[in-house]
Amino acid sequence: MLLTIWLYLLRLNDNLLLNSALWDNELVLLEYRKMKTLYDKLWESHVVHAESDKPDSMVILYIDRHLVHEVTSPQAFEGLKLARRKPWRVNSILAVADHNVPTTDRSRGIKDPTSRLQVETLDQNCEELGITEFRMSDQRQGIVHVIGPEQGATLPGMTVVCGDSHTSTHGAFGCLAFGIGTSEVEHVLATQCLLTKKSKSMQILVEGKLGYGVTAKDIALAIIGEIGTAGGTGYAIEFAGSAIRALSMEGRMTLCNMAIEAGARAGMIAVDETTIEYIKGRPFAPKGAMLEQAASYWRTLKSDEGAIFDRVVKLEAEQIKPQVTWGTSPEMVTSIEGRVPDPALIVDPIKRHDTENALKYMGLLPNTPVREILLDKIFIGSCTNSRIEDLREAAMILKGKHIAPNIKLALVVPGSGLVKSQAEQEGIDRIFREAGFEWREPGCSMCLAMNDDRLMPGERCASTSNRNFEGRQGPGGRTHLVSPAMAAAAAVAGHFVDVRTMNE
């Protein structure tokens, strides 16, 4: 501990100390220099060229994996063509349509002509350029952030980008993964690189054991409640601590997925045996001797002991309760035991104004207990919570129960065709169906409502997705973010309920 404090002070006085006559232990300085965060390691191993040796220098960063979907790519492919350029390395790209695809019967294609054109444009671009794409009829199709890891296309030590902010998900594998805009999609297509700058580093330590019914989603929302939606702006977050180590890969993906909701472009978790076990046997993953070679490198992908972060945030796992958002930003969150806040008690005028706006939009009165909020729809799905473990968690709550009469629609949208098929083999689909849920085809669905799945104005939804922004799930729709278990429990009760008391 003392050493850490001392090293921290050293860092603060770095430049001063380097030139200082006070400095008499060069060996310790050298040791300090060698200690790197996971982010440092991932960053440094991908720098092709740096404009200067300053830490905030613009660099050319090499990209190992480029995931592509239909919404943010058409203009990039068009730009590439207009400039008569070709993709730099076609086998680094994996494409899938997920945002616009229908989750109902697909045999007749996509009804909406603009959605159809966008998906067809992706198909056409991939075919012309020889890019691997899982088409809508392929069982491997699904949400881009579900299929990457599922296929082993996301591997530790990689840089992974996609024209989608939830690319942070892939950081669960000890990757540097972040979302980019369409100009950058084109840039990566053309050069296999990005022009970018290093972020600051933040470590979020969650120590202890999560209570029954508390999940990675609750950790994510509790963190955002703590640091705010801009708390991670300018940072790359590493999640660490015993509670994180204990999470499955699905849980780790949920947590890293939400890093962007805390404002951080990238979230990441060190590689351990859980990571390597998950990867083994996946189609795009190395096999045999090459897997062993890879795994011995992957095991080095963790922050060195004593590595210094620009900011450290600590949470105790035991203190985290099931979370429910009440407003129009993920930071507007409380626990199932909480109440909707009273704007009159908020001192900061900007925050008060935002809270008033949020409550007006959400149709909620100050001080309403979260448990008394009645719901219209339930959505279990999205790149945050549509993996097999998420579906199992929800099914465990739903088994032998039925959704409440006031629930107009309860949707479960698996993250991929393979997740769907796995769930069907386990009989999970039957539990959902018997409980009154609709069992759909994979895609982004009502997380952002680009297809037909959406809320009507004024409708209130318990959703396992990641954003509760105004209009996100349909104009005028009201979204409350929760874990899959909490969404299932709410479906049965018709209002929010503490999942910890459900199966007692």
Binding site: V48, H49, D56, I60, Y62, D64, V71, T72, Q75, E78, A83, R85, R89, H99, T114, Q118, L155, G157, M158, D164, S165, T167, F178, G179, I180, G181, T182, S183, E184, H187, A190, T191, Q192, C193, L195, S199, T229, A230, T233, I260, G263, A264, R265, F284, A285, P286, M290, A294, S329, I350, H353, D354, L448, M450, R467, F469, E470, G471, R472, P475
Partner: protein
């Protein structure tokens, strides 16, 4: 990319924090495969009273008279002044496209979301970070003064008010260079093509599983 040297333009305040990209350009307009035409749907759910769909004739739509961009005195605004964490949420570049297509050249806020901030530079839209006290002051002045125009000069990195007060802002030198010269970043990176190839070859030898 569009060159950016300076801008003298009418300012409009958007007095909200955490304005997300779903608010800037709602998802139904993201189905377009084009890069242009998003301006008419900028802030669609706030700007109009009816539900907007792609292909609608906006001249026939019901305008929300309360929304700031619809007020007569702010017509033709080129500089948006807003609050913390502007552009949070998705990575959609459609958000800066919509702002630029509407006519904005500069966005001033105390802070921006990372991906949005980065995306702006790629298209020649200038996001400026100013201290929240200065932003408060600017918003008060815009509200109090008709035809409030700011002068933004990239070369000197300054924002000047009608009262001749000048505020400096920071910008990464590389980004500034690209903006002032309207440079194509892909072309710049491709000048390093040999380095990229060498890097890739080394990587292929050391970590062959990445290239399978």
């Amino acid at each position: 990319m569009k060159k950016f040297e300076h801008c003298r333009g009418l300012a409009v305040p958007l007095d909200r924090a955490n304005v997300d990209t779903d608010a800037i350009i709602p998802k139904q307009f993201l189905k377009s495969i084009k890069r242009s035409g998003f301006g008419q749907n900028l802030f669609d759910e706030w700007r109009y009273l009816d539900r907007g769909e792609p292909g609608m004739d906006v001249s026939q739509r019901k305008i929300n008279p309360d929304f700031i961009l619809n007020q007569l005195r702010y017509q033709g605004a080129q500089i948006l002044i807003t609050r913390d964490n502007f552009g949070c949420g998705s990575s959609r570049e459609h958000a800066p496209w919509a702002l630029q297509d509407y006519g904005f050249q500069v966005i001033i806020a105390p802070s921006f979301a990372d991906i949005f901030f980065n995306n702006c530079f790629k298209i020649g839209l200038l996001p400026i970070v100013l201290d929240s006290n200065i932003v408060n002051k600017l918003i008060d002045e815009v509200v109090a003064t008709n035809s409030y125009c700011l002068f933004v000069d990239l070369a000197t990195q300054t924002v000047t008010t009608p009262g001749n007060e000048t505020y400096n802002f920071d910008i990464d030198p590389f980004r500034k260079y690209c903006l002032i010269n309207g440079l194509d970043e892909i072309g710049l990176t491709l000048q390093h093509a040999d380095e990229i190839k060498q890097f890739e070859e080394k990587r292929r030898k050391e970590q062959p599983w990445l290239f399978a």
